[in-house]
Each structure stands twice: as structure tokens, then as C-alpha cells.
């Protein structure tokens, strides 16, 4: 697995050299695009991160976690994972920190940790992605796609908890 990324780079660079692409100029031109792109993301990022911070610090997230715990247990999702499942759509770094805590607390090979890892690895930061993707478009009414993504993620979470029991 460690060879995949170097192999991709070598392949693209050698292929580019054969096709007489000016590697240095084009590589820097690509990075120039990255600079612009990162700056265009910053406003969305800042707003979303402030929202997430408030959500977390105010204790609002804890209240929702407690309220939803019974629902999640009924679906077979352990109570210890409720918070992780809820935070993941909002914050990648926040949920990563929480995942780390779960692994430290329960041990890397426990059912809870394995379950948490599968849930984390098979879901995305939905709100962040929606903000970034549609920042420069006129698309409105994102509620439906977001709800669809959240439902799909919940279904796969239920399966994750089930699969970790048997695999």
C-alpha cells in the first residue's frame, strides 16, 4: 500500500516528461491554483468552524446527544458512539479527536473502537463539503441532498455496528 502514492507520482511525472510537459512550470502553476482555491475556501471554513465551536461549547451538542441516544440504541448503535456519529457531519477534526479518545479509552481492538473506526472511515463531513462545493454556484435548496446523505450515512452506520459484531 505504501507504494501506491509514489507510483502515481512517478507515473504522472514520467508520462509528462515523455509528452514534453514543462514539469516545473506546470507543477508551480498547479500550486498557484491551489493558493487561489484555498483562499476561496477560507470564508466558508471560518463561518462553519465558528458554528461548530459554538455548538460544542454551548453544550447544545450534548443535549442532542442525550436526546438521540435511545433512538440510536434502538437501531443497534452503541450509546458510546452517539456523539461521534452526530459530530462527524459537522467537523472532521472534532470527530477525529473524539475517535482518538474512544480508541484510548476502550483499546484499539475492542468492539466499540472498531465500530467507531468503521463509522468514521465510511462517512464524510457533509456540511463542510456542501459549503465548499456550492460556494460559487447559484444552486439553492440543498436541504434534500443533505438529508439524503445523512440518511444514507445513518444506514451505513447501522450496518457498521452490525458488521463489526460478526467480522
Amino acid at each position: 500500500m505504501v507504494y501506491i502514492i509514489p507510483a502515481i507520482f512517478l507515473f504522472v511525472f514520467i508520462f509528462g516528461a515523455i509528452k514534453k510537459v514543462k514539469l516545473y512550470s506546470e507543477f508551480s502553476a498547479g500550486i498557484q491554483e491551489a493558493v487561489k482555491f484555498t483562499f476561496s475556501l477560507l470564508p466558508c471554513l471560518a463561518a462553519i468552524f465558528m458554528m461548530c465551536e459554538l455548538f460544542e461549547v454551548s453544550g447544545f451538542s450534548d443535549i442532542i446527544t442525550k436526546a438521540l441516544s435511545p433512538v440510536f440504541s434502538a437501531l443497534g448503535i452503541p450509546a458510546e458512539l452517539t456523539k461521534l456519529v452526530l459530530i462527524k457531519p459537522f467537523s472532521g477534526s472534532g470527530s477525529l479527536a473524539y475517535l482518538n479518545k474512544i480508541i484510548q479509552q476502550y483499546g484499539a481492538d475492542s468492539y466499540i473502537s472498531r465500530c467507531a473506526c468503521v463509522c468514521f472511515g465510511s462517512s464524510e463531513t457533509v456540511f463542510y463539503i456542501s459549503a465548499v462545493y456550492f460556494a460559487s454556484t447559484s444552486v439553492k435548496n440543498l436541504a434534500k441532498p443533505i438529508v439524503i446523505v445523512l440518511i444514507s450515512t445513518l444506514i451505513s452506520t447501522v450496518f457498521a455496528c452490525l458488521l463489526c459484531r460478526i467480522m
Binding site: 498547479g30 493558493v35 473502537s113 473506526c117 444552486v139 444514507s152
Partner: protein, 187 residues
């Protein structure tokens, strides 16, 4: 997004006023600070991958990838725009290879291309595919488990693969069904 942002922001602020009002400004500032740090991290990822992708683009490699995936992008995304197809192809390839950070710039470019033809259907579809995660190898999680002395850090590979497929397939199917219903109602 505007509604969600407003709701969460206002409710959380009101909560915070009751619990500890002195934490209000520090929270906002620390949120902005994490955004600044995050954008630095993101820049590093994008610099590496967008540099590489520019070479792939100039050498005709991305066009090749787009050609290979053309039947799929034409049928599923209903677009004939070659630039959009190229970016969609690169986005999907990066996702499958597990380099999610590299996938984002391609998706944003593809969405900008689709905007030109007002193809809102394809824009939302691409969002759903990306937001339901289609990673083959969850590298972050495996690294984390290996770091915590797991006896078999890779043993979550199969369940992860199954789950990521389940969520993406469910998402795409739900979306297709809903757009069919909507179109049916419109006729």
C-alpha cells in the same frame, strides 16, 4: 445551508448565554483559528495534488481517464461537457484511491463547469457521491489504530468497504428515485 447555519448558531448562542456568556467571543475566535490552521493543512494537500493534477492535465492523462469513464459520466451525470467529464473522472479516481483531499478541488472544478450548463442534477449527484464517502482504503483510521497498538489494524478494511458502498449506493438510489418522482409530478 443558510437555514441550518442560522438555526445552529442562534440556538447555541442562546444556550451559551445561560451557561457561560464569557466563553462566547473566545469560542468564535477559536473557531476562526481552527479554520486558519485547517486552511494551511488543506493548502499543503492541495498544493501537492493540484500540482500533480496540472501535469496530468497537460500531458493528456486526465483526458484519458475522462474517456475511460465517459459512458458512466454521460449516463449518470447527463453531461456532454468534456471539461466537466474530465474533472468528474479525476474526482472519482482520487476518491477510489483514498486520497480524499485531492478529490475536493476536482469536484469544485466539475461543479463550476456544470454550473455553465445549469446542470443542477449532476451537481447535486456529485455532491452526494462525495459526501457519502467512497473511500476504498481508510488510511487515517488504519494509521490511528496502528498507533494505538492494535493487533490487526487492517481488520476493519472489509467492514469499512462494505459500509462505504452501502452509503454511496443508498444515497445515489434515493436521489435518483426522488428526482424521478419530482419529474413525474412535474409532467
Amino acid at each position: 445551508m443558510n437555514a441550518i447555519f442560522a438555526a445552529i448558531f442562534i440556538i447555541s448562542s442562546v444556550f451559551l448565554l445561560f451557561v457561560s456568556p464569557d466563553k462566547f467571543l473566545p469560542s468564535l475566535l477559536s473557531g476562526a483559528e481552527s479554520a486558519a490552521k485547517m486552511s494551511l493543512t488543506l493548502f499543503c494537500i492541495y498544493a501537492v495534488w493540484m500540482g500533480l493534477s496540472r501535469i496530468a492535465e497537460k500531458s493528456g492523462l486526465s483526458a484519458g481517464a475522462a474517456r475511460a469513464l465517459k459512458p458512466l459520466s454521460k449516463k449518470l451525470f447527463k453531461t456532454d461537457n468534456p471539461a466537466a467529464q474530465e474533472n468528474i473522472a479525476m474526482n472519482l479516481s482520487c476518491n477510489l484511491l483514498g486520497i480524499g483531499g485531492a478529490a475536493t478541488p476536482f469536484a469544485v472544478k466539475a461543479i463550476a463547469q456544470l454550473e455553465k450548463e445549469k446542470n443542477e442534477f449532476a451537481q447535486k449527484l456529485l455532491f452526494i457521491i462525495n459526501a457519502t464517502s467512497i473511500q476504498i482504503l481508510p488510511t487515517t483510521v488504519i494509521a490511528l489504530r496502528a498507533g494505538a497498538n492494535s493487533a490487526a489494524a487492517y481488520d476493519i478494511f472489509l467492514p469499512s468497504l462494505i459500509c462505504t458502498c452501502i452509503s454511496t449506493v443508498t444515497g445515489v438510489l434515493l436521489y435518483l428515485v426522488f428526482s424521478k418522482i419530482k419529474r413525474g409530478a412535474g409532467n
